[in-house]
Symmetry: C2
Subunit: 184 residues, 2 copies
């Protein structure tokens, strides 16, 4: 679907410069040569990337976390997830670490669902999504400045919540709908 | 699922300042009071928001666009979408405009699927997702610096492509999987 001939829409980068360096965000101004020969400015938020997990237990419940998200100024219901510790970190290991930190769970079965780019119009952030099953409980140990509540919800109810528009987090919608398609 | 008691995880903003003003991105440094009384710095990329559409024709095909995305330096297969012209613009009107600009299509049936926040860890970007049916063809008129190829793919094949990990764009995965759940 994607491969075919893309020569009429390709761009090439002719200049790139860092215009902002923050704590987690780094903004590059890119100048690209367009297919018509003109150039255009593109703004890109560089991000280290992340992993996220849909943990489904033997009773068909998904373990989710509720977190206050400053960027959207509200509490969101999300699958366990977290940033990579460094660019290029093994994404499955990161998923296992974040699952255990946030929920205390470990899992014997791991399936890679897909990798998503969250917002390719302005960022290179990529999140690897996993389905984890055969769960074992343990003790959670979130980061010092991370406050969250863990909730267990039947997978079918999470899907129903998504379909009613009650779950806004994009990685959660992607991963839960894919897990639902895979498990049904 | 989300409402319950969140008092133990709430944060309040005690300071906010603009640290970067770009073309489409504006970065704020926020200082939040955490549930434990400490404060923490949060970085937020402010974005105007967007609308996106899954257009499904009478033969069960989804109309998609292939675009080069500078932020991820590759061609992505996506549902038609575009930024709002201004903060607070009517999101259904924006969806109709973007569908027509990118594909030439108009639609007689519109269903709001959900609103997603693409990456709430660092941005407030919200995208409204719609399912459009009863399509009528017309002439596309993309923006001057917008180059794209329109492709028609059966909905079930798009879902299969998502499940094989071939479609990376998060809004496309969210909207197509929700349209699939709604149409099946």
């Amino acid at each position: 679907m994607i491969r075919d001939d893309n020569s009429n829409i390709m761009e090439t980068t002719v200049d790139s410069r860092r215009v902002f360096d923050g704590i987690i965000l780094h903004i590059d101004h890119i100048t690209n040569r367009l297919p018509n020969g003109k150039t255009a400015a593109r703004e890109v938020a560089r991000h280290v990337g992340a992993s996220a997990v849909v943990p489904v237990d033997g009773d068909g419940n998904v373990w989710l976390v509720k977190q206050f998200r400053a960027a959207v100024d509200r509490v969101l219901l999300e699958i366990p997830a977290g940033k990579l510790d460094f660019k290029g970190e093994d994404r499955l290991l990161a998923a296992k670490r974040e699952l255990e930190e946030e929920t205390g769970l470990t899992a014997a079965s791991w399936i890679h669902l897909t990798d998503i780019v969250t917002t390719p119009g302005f960022s290179d952030e990529k999140i690897s999504l996993y389905l984890a099953r055969e769960l074992s409980p343990g003790e959670s140990h979130p980061d010092d400045d991370e406050f969250l509540n863990v909730v267990k919800v039947p997978l079918k109810d999470v899907v129903a919540g998504i379909m009613r528009g009650e779950i806004a987090d994009a990685k959660t919608v992607c991963a839960v709908m894919m897990a639902w398609e895979k498990c049904r």
